[in-house]
């Protein structure tokens, strides 16, 4: 009940419960602005381009890509890992920060979780089309068949199938459980019509009863508790796709923690990109404040530094191992034909994120916005560097070759960006972007006196 007067409030402006409801719901219930239609058009066109390229790939075969016999994984797996990584921040925010009782997360968890779901959908597309024959995807699930065959449970690729489908399912139900009370609010704010019927259907008959709230809270905390190891496991398993092979540059034990840190790093960068636009476009400045952005920037420094440490450790271990193939793989990575990709990776991930130590930059929205895009470019290149530079020159010098992506592959990346942004833009029009009931629970107008002293201490 008490709020320490030394802390600044988590949301700004003098709000009441009612004004929280209307501030969050009005921008989504009013007619969409020009900005939204513009975004939707661009995202929709990108999506159409991507769908065309997917159809082209499936129709013609993956020979339309730049992959060759030496570099069998390149652009698509890079993009797959990139999207999975982006999908990590949502569950990190909603689960790990919930367990650590970081209440500032209450304004950002909803949109971050939605982002997770869309990112995982985009990611899951890539292994599917990479199969060449997506209609046979069911082969990767262990199902009883006439040949009596099962999938290879020793293979990290099969673990991946389980990890990603579990991650998607749990994220989706976690998100929806959190949405139910807010859909109830929406249902009660809309007076009549088809919209009301739909939201009534989706609200599952939410009453707001004390017993339901009790179960709701317990379910959310328990889901957070199991989603926490889950989020760490997913990218660990993705990293084992590489680490359990014998390719120099992939075959390292550092991969699981290194990938998880990188995933949270790029995920938070994407959350920053989206939220800085969303708060402006929907007028949610009081809820997603500068201190939210600053807090997330602190996580960016932490994870960015872990990533930097991992780059150095990799280099050191390659030298220290005394294996000449390892030596070569890492020398080739930094100074070989793909040196420019390595430089982009170092500049965008290591150098740029260290700038956040400066308080002024950490608090600047414009800087954060630009940085978040830079980081995501860097993180895409990190995966590209790991995958392509390791493969293109491995043990057999006679097989050495170069990889060059084709327009089809760029189309797939642009297409998934289109799918992601289309889905996000639809989401902000359909469901409340901020968890209304969770924001109300941290408002604490109950103690007027303390709330007022709090505000006076703020400046």
């Amino acid at each position: 009940m008490l709020q320490s007067p030394l802390r600044t409030p988590l949301i700004e402006g003098s709000k009441t419960y009612r004004s929280i409801t209307s501030d969050i719901l009005n921008p989504m219930m009013n007619k969409a602005g020009k900005f939204w239609y513009m975004g939707m058009t661009i995202a929709g066109l990108a999506m159409l381009f991507g769908v065309f390229m997917i159809v082209w790939t499936v129709w013609q075969g993956i020979g339309t890509w730049g992959e060759n016999r030496t570099v069998g994984w390149a652009f698509e797996i890079t993009t797959f890992v990139w999207w999975i990584g982006i999908g990590h921040a949502g569950t990190f925010i909603s689960a790990i920060l919930l367990l650590f009782r970081q209440k500032w997360r209450n304004s950002i968890n909803r949109s971050a979780e939605a982002m997770t779901i869309f990112a995982v959908i985009c990611a899951a597309l890539f292994p599917l089309i990479h199969l060449g024959r997506p209609l046979l995807t069911f082969f990767i699930f262990p199902y009883p068949n006439t040949r009596g065959l099962w999938v290879n449970f020793n293979s990290p690729l099969v673990w991946d199938v389980f990890a990603i489908s579990t991650y998607f399912t749990i994220s989706l139900v976690f998100w929806y459980v959190g949405l139910i009370p807010d859909i109830g609010t929406l249902r009660d704010k809309i007076s009549k019509g088809l919209k009301k019927t739909i939201y009534n259907f989706l609200s599952f008959g939410w009453k707001g009863s004390a017993r339901d709230w009790h179960r709701h809270e317990i379910t959310s905390v328990m889901l957070a508790a199991i989603a926490t190891p889950l989020v760490l496991s997913v990218h660990s398993i993705v990293s084992m796709d590489f680490a359990s092979s014998i390719v120099p540059g992939w075959h390292t034990t550092i991969f699981p923690p290194y990938f998880v840190a990188g995933a949270i790093f790029s995920g938070f960068a994407m959350v920053q990109t989206l939220l800085i636009i969303t708060r402006k476009a929907m007028g949610l400045e009081d809820f997603i404040t500068e201190s939210h952005v600053e807090n997330m920037n602190k996580i960016l420094i932490a994870t960015g530094s872990i990533v930097a440490l991992a780059y150095m450790t990799e280099m050191f271990m390659a030298w220290y191992s005394g294996v000449e193939y390892e030596h070569y793989a890492f020398m080739n990575r930094a100074t070989g034909p793909y040196w420019w990709a390595y430089m982009i990776m170092i500049c965008c991930n290591v150098v740029s994120s260290q700038l956040l130590w400066i308080k002024k930059l950490r608090k600047s929205l414009l800087f954060t916005f630009i940085l978040s895009i830079v980081i995501n470019i860097g993180m895409w290149f990190e995966r590209f560097v790991i995958i392509v530079t390791s493969l293109h020159r491995d043990y057999l010098t006679s097989s050495w070759t170069m990889y060059k992506p084709t327009i089809v592959e760029f189309g797939l990346l642009i297409g998934t960006l289109g799918i992601f942004f289309t889905a996000f833009l639809l989401f902000i029009r359909i469901f409340p972007v901020i968890s209304i009931f969770e924001v109300k629970s941290i408002l604490k107008t109950g103690d007027e006196h303390i709330h007022k002293t709090d505000v006076s201490h703020e400046k």
């Binding site: 009441t16 009596g148 389980f162 009534n200 709230w213 317990i218 496991s233 009931f437």
Partner: protein, 170 residues
């Protein structure tokens, strides 16, 4: 809800609500339900609600998932279709761990959500009518069953004279 008659006491904040709940329970009134726009802290204890057993269910189903996943992989690789892969043993426990873990989480998570929905009787229903449309916005309501008790209304009203209530309805 309509067939029985309830006294509903409206509040605009959680503090008077909690005080009212304590007073009413002290005087041995039976509270049927408390409705609020967000979880009110301290209400669980005030209503002396039993802790939900949803986590227990989650544990049981999680354990079931673990046994199923591990057992299935072990059965496939030792009984159904033993296959030599990279010279590794058929019964290679470490490689079964990731899938066992994932299936455990999946079972535990889905079972807890299912338990939550079933126990709270939440299901898609287009004919659902909320008790009051302002509860999901900013109203807190205590419901007292007064179907068989004609004197309850006046009694409750006099009990809550010192509390900041918005309205007491029958």
């Amino acid at each position: 809800m309509r067939s029985r008659s309830y006294i509903s006491i409206y509040f605009d904040d959680e503090v008077p609500l909690l005080e009212a709940v304590r007073i009413l329970l002290d005087k041995k009134e039976t509270i049927s339900d408390v409705l609020s726009p967000f979880p009110v802290h301290g209400l669980d204890e005030a209503l002396s609600m039993k802790r939900s057993r949803i986590p227990v269910g989650g544990f049981i189903f999680g354990a079931l998932g673990a046994i199923l996943a591990f057992g299935f992989q072990a059965w496939v690789f030792t009984v159904s279709y033993p296959l030599i892969i990279g010279g590794k043993p058929f019964f290679s426990v470490p490689t079964f761990i990731p899938i066992t873990f994932e299936v455990t989480v999946l079972f535990a998570g889905l079972s807890m959500v299912a338990a939550f929905l079933i126990r709270s009787k939440l299901k898609p229903d287009i004919r659902f009518k909320p008790f009051d449309e302002s509860i999901t916005d900013d109203r807190f309501v205590i419901l007292i069953d007064a179907s068989d008790d004609r004197t309850a209304f006046d009694r409750v009203k006099s009990l809550l004279t010192g509390i900041h209530t918005l309205e007491i309805r029958h």
